[in-house]
């Protein structure tokens, strides 16, 4: 219980510091942020109004305290262009991103589990070499190139899927492939590595000695024990999916958080930029903490150590 409390306290502190860094973003803008947002030809009155609205006329300590106080009430300010509260805009876009990340995760698992198991089962032989090379190639293809190539082949060449936008399940396929590819590659390597470690253990030899087939020993005894590192990696990578979604959503005009962020950057809508960055990184921190906690529950060995 104390370990859990310590984890909660630690995570909260990290979240506070992350929020502080996001707050600092607006002060990293070279020169006067108001000039950057309004352009230099804006009226003095407009600039003063924006400065007051963003609180930039206050001392920095007051700004920081106000920021944290507003954050505690889930108030992220208002978008400069659309005038709506940033929180509302974020919540509108969140489901699309979660749907995309979920689909990418499912795709990555469907590819990586069989590929990783085959690679480990035939370690050092040709199936392993093929699977490992496929994984390394998958890892080396950047998503902003994979996306256009997939559109070229499947949407334009074969006419199978919509080119972009969100038009039902069909339009989810290519973005999910694009986003999930690197996760599939990383996870294949992880499944292979952790299976290889487990396959050397005495209990697998015992399972084989009592007459289980290689496949049964692998599925019933090795896989459950190899699952933990894989699970941790998936937790860590889920956050990276949210970040990778920024580029993938831009390519496919997918109406999620990522394309919201890029639009906000183009329009110099800094409150909205801050909101997007904060939400994505905060989700990442929380997912990581949950993964760590789940690890403790699933593996009794780590519980006894801590």
């Amino acid at each position: 219980m104390t370990a859990l409390l310590r984890r909660v306290a630690d995570t909260s502190l990290t979240l506070l510091l992350v929020a502080g860094l996001v707050f600092a973003l607006i002060h990293l803008i070279p020169g006067d942020p108001v000039d950057v947002m309004l352009g230099e030809s804006a009226h003095a009155a407009d600039r003063a109004a924006l400065r007051a609205r963003l609180g930039l006329d206050q001392p920095i300590s007051v700004q920081l305290l106000d920021y944290y106080a507003a954050l505690a009430q889930a108030d992220l300010g208002a978008s400069l262009h659309q005038g709506q509260p940033v929180t509302r805009l974020l919540l509108d876009r969140l489901p699309a991103t979660l749907q995309l990340a979920g689909a990418a995760l499912v795709f990555a698992l469907l590819i990586s589990l069989p590929l990783g198991v085959v690679a480990a089962r035939f370690a050092g032989r040709s199936p392993d070499r093929v699977a490992s090379s496929v994984a390394l190639i998958g890892l080396s293809i950047p998503n902003f190139w994979l996306g256009p190539v997939l559109i070229l082949v499947f949407s334009i060449g074969l006419g199978l899927t919509p080119v972009s936008g969100d038009e039902g399940w069909g339009s989810l396929i290519l973005p999910a492939l694009t986003l999930g590819m690197s996760l599939a590659a990383i996870n294949t390597r992880m499944v292979r590595a952790s299976l290889l470690e487990v396959l050397d253990q005495p209990f697998v030899r015992t399972a084989r000695a009592k007459g289980l087939s290689p496949i049964a020993a692998l599925v019933r005894h090795a896989l459950p024990n190899a699952a933990l590192p894989v699970l941790t990696l998936l937790g860590l990578q889920l956050g990276h999916l949210l970040a990778g979604a920024v580029i993938t959503e831009t390519i496919f005009a997918w109406p999620g958080l990522g394309s919201l962020l890029i639009d906000a950057i183009r329009q110099r809508d800094y409150p909205l930029v801050q909101g997007c960055v904060l939400l994505i990184s905060a989700s990442y921190v929380v997912i990581n903490a949950l993964t760590d906690t789940a690890y403790g529950w699933l593996d009794p060995r780590t519980r006894r150590l801590s």
Binding site: T14, L21, V36, L136, F144, W145, V246, I262
Partner: protein, 262 residues
Amino acid sequence: MRLALAILGLWLLAAALGPWFQASSVQVWLPGILTAPDASAWLGRDELGRDVLARLLAGAGTALWVSLLVVGISASVGTTLGLAAGYWGGWLDRVIGRLIDVFLAFPGILLAIALAAALGPGLDNLVLALALMGWVGFARLARAQAMSLRERDHVQAAIALGCSQRRILIRHLLPLALAPLLVETSFSVAGVVVAEAGLSFLGLGVQPPAASWGSMIRDGVRYMLTAPHLVLAPGVALCLVVFAANRLGDVLQDRLSGRSNW
């Protein structure tokens, strides 16, 4: 391994050749808009009639410069902070450790995107943003290494003999921590090349008319139907370099892990 080194060698060669083709990489020639590869332009011409091969070479230079600068800065800053934190411990370690945690709390390329957005587009800011993201990996690794190495007998002996702190860090800790840092360097070259291209793809990196593989892909996507070579050429170059750097990291890791307990 040989394939990886050959690709990386080609990359260096392309970057070195780049300056000779600088002029033709920005030479607009409207009669040749979007033409397919031919004898005058081996990889065809882009939407302004510029030679794609010349732009590819210029892009190789951009990618190389950015990765040398970013990896150089991240490795030296990160290693120094990490070694110091791991070796001395105490409040220094708590501060640096917390700093590492906070930077690691930003997933993937998100921090670089946010920084590049705040700092404004351009090559200098791109390098700054990527270095601010890159030092963390080196720092975390060096810190872990220093924490385990400082208990070793030879380090304890050096302390007992009254060696200066600097000498202990540089002569007795750094050489032993170098192997994993070398692996990290290789992977981080791959990461920086992708990140540079990614940010340039989003319009946050290299600005026109300078060439980057990422901005070439972004501009080419609009003409994918009529001139697929605009997307294919920089994409293949990018994939090859990233593949080679990743492969080199893998091989180094395998070789070095066998002898990490000297």
